[in-house]
């Protein structure tokens, strides 16, 4: 499959080239060459120089002006030791589809590989997707095709996904006040595990089939609630409830409340990885929290947040705040943040009655991006309440310098250095060439 992709991706780009010449086209390219070393006692020293190319091509206004082609993917070649798996090269077609937009009713047809994110649906599909608005405030979305398989699990000859997938969403919006939707995804039967290394007894694993509902409600411009619930038709219980409440008592102040509730057996049912990782699938998880964001001025934004994590094994709280500055006509962006995770012993890496998973997190960054150059400094540190591998902290500093050769072409380089429980000296570097032909347009440099 990978070999096919190696040929398919450049072939698709070559096929698109004639159209590029006559249509409204944008190209986004990021070329990276990274340098790092793995040197640990009792292990062979390895030098890594992976060269990675990310490439996106969007060809718009084809045919009658409503047809477009969209491609995005990456490829990597290791110029020294193999950086990751047993392959000296690797690659992936993230998406590649033709899209036709109708001039009315937000009608849209997609054909190819694409992502779909609607209601409770969040899938990558090789197939067909359609959307249209309907009279009286209804909208309809549907998709179907083949699942996009990823890497096989160890001991298996499968990634745990069925081969076919379909789904859709039907929603109704009333006068900008509320919206309700129902959505579902149905994947063909999950593969039978070959069980060279069988999952533990009692592990729940099966087909990916969910039904759900979503809601958006804004009875007043200052109040908004939205969220969704999903139901696993295989386990016959709710998998997830996830809801958000936004209050805007002042145009510069946003108060947010969030609530999430999960049934682990149903959330992780179609994932081999998590089905085998979690020891207690009867567990329930719940997070609840809030955030206040205040735009103090055009240049300063303050944010404070709190979240409580409740699982049957224990409880934890995370709280902190961030401040962001945007100055010099947006060319200077900087920020500071602090958060503390107050964790019960059960969440420590090795849980004992006296252990702790608590830590402080501190981050600061500054970015100066002018018409001619960019310079960035980013520092992040984690300070553990209890040592991990005899270290009380993990920190990393990244510096980046770049020069805008043209408004669309930028050459930059990063150097990062850090110390952490994994490595005493973690020094890495990279060279980056970025080409973004739609520099001030859609997508842009954001």
């Amino acid at each position: 499959m990978k070999k096919m992709l190696y040929h398919l991706f450049p072939a698709l780009i070559l096929l698109a080239l004639p159209a590029v010449a006559v249509a409204d086209t944008s190209v986004d390219s990021t070329s990276l060459v990274r340098f790092f070393q793995d040197s640990r006692p009792n292990f062979t020293e390895k030098d890594f120089i992976p060269a990675t190319q990310f490439l996106g091509v969007d060809v718009n206004k084809l045919g009658d002006g409503n047809l477009s082609l969209h491609l995005y993917g990456w490829g990597r070649a290791d110029l020294a030791d193999k950086s990751y798996n047993n392959d000296q090269a690797d690659g992936s077609l993230t998406y590649g589809y033709a899209q036709y937009r109708f001039n009315q009713a937000n009608g849209m047809i997609r054909l190819g590989r694409f992502f779909i994110n609607e209601g409770i649906i969040n899938e990558q599909v090789d197939g067909l997707g359609v959307h249209t608005d309907l009279p009286l405030g209804f909208e309809f979305t549907a998709f179907g095709g083949a699942t996009v398989h990823s890497v096989d699990m160890p001991g298996e000859r499968t990634d745990g996904k069925g081969d076919g997938i379909a789904g859709g969403r039907l929603n109704y919006r009333y006068a900008g006040i509320f919206e309700v939707g129902v959505s579902g995804v149905y994947e063909s039967n999950a593969p039978v595990l070959t069980a060279d290394q069988p999952l533990a007894t009692g592990v729940a694993f099966g087909s990916h089939r969910l039904l759900g509902g979503d809601v958006w409600l804004s009875p007043h411009p200052m109040v908004e609630a939205r969220g969704h619930s999903s139901y696993n038709t295989e386990t016959e219980e709710f998998a997830e409830h996830s809801y958000l409440l936004n209050l805007r008592p002042h145009q510069d102040l946003v108060l947010t409340g969030e609530f999430n509730d999960y049934r682990d057996r149903s959330v992780f049912y179609s994932s081999i990885l998590f089905s085998s990782l979690l020891t207690n699938l009867n567990d329930k998880s719940r997070t609840a929290g809030g955030r206040a964001t205040y735009q103090l001025s055009k240049t300063v934004e303050l944010s404070g947040d709190f979240k409580r994590y409740s699982r049957e094994i224990g409880k934890s709280d995370r709280f902190g705040g961030d401040v962001r500055f945007t100055m010099l006509n947006n060319s200077l962006r900087t920020g500071l943040g602090y958060h503390y995770l107050r964790s019960s012993p059960e969440f420590a890496i090795i849980a004992t009655a006296t252990s702790s998973g608590s830590f402080h997190q501190v981050r600061g960054y500054v970015l100066h991006d002018t018409k001619s150059y960019l310079a960035a400094l980013d520092a992040i540190g984690y300070f553990f309440k209890q040592d991990i591998n005899s270290r009380s902290n993990a920190w990393e500093v990244i510096t980046s310098l770049g020069y805008h050769l043209t408004p669309a072409l930028t050459l930059s380089g990063d150097v990062s250095y850090g110390m952490n429980p994994q490595f005493d000296d973690d020094l890495k570097g990279l060279i980056r060439l970025t080409y973004n032909a739609t520099y001030t347009g859609k997508g842009g440099p954001k």
């Binding site: 979503d214 964790s343 429980p421």
Partner: protein, 149 residues
């Protein structure tokens, strides 16, 4: 087939019937523009500078942190300004590197797993595994299974 799964074809059929019945009236319904008519400056945008009623979509820290809620029901609004590849810097099926490495020259962008997340994930994974599952449950787990066999 379980009785509960019968609802999938029923929903699909209902949607199809409604779609066909409404086709004749679709020409009266306007479409959103394919992309934003004005070029937007770099960094986080404030939609209310021009669109008084779109305060919800102002890219505040709250919006960025909670963007999954908006993307699931308003993704056509997102697509007016953002290409799909903007989302795929983080959300993809087979990730090659941490987004914060690819975009190390953009510390102002919200990125997951900054710093030594190799250590941190041993705590965060116990804390809120459902948040891991969204991206790594059925994809992007090639690196997970190196250790978690």
């Amino acid at each position: 087939m379980k009785s509960s799964t019968l609802i999938f074809p029923i929903l699909a059929m209902a949607g199809l019937i409604i779609s066909l019945a409404a086709c004749a009236q679709l020409k009266a319904l306007p479409s959103l523009p394919p992309w934003h008519p004005e070029a937007l400056e770099a960094g986080r945008v404030s939609c209310t500078e021009c669109h008084e009623k779109l305060s919800t979509f102002n890219h505040t820290t709250a919006f960025v942190k909670d963007h999954r809620f908006y993307a699931s029901s308003d993704n056509r609004n997102c697509a007016i300004c953002h290409k799909s590849s903007f989302c795929n810097d983080c959300h993809t099926n087979q990730v090659e590197m941490k987004p914060s490495i690819k975009l190390g020259n953009r510390p102002d962008r919200e990125m997951p797993h900054r710093g030594d997340f190799t250590t941190l994930h041993k705590i965060e994974g116990k804390l809120d595994p459902a948040s891991c599952r969204r991206c790594h449950g059925r994809a992007n787990n090639e690196r997970c299974i190196i250790c978690h066999r």
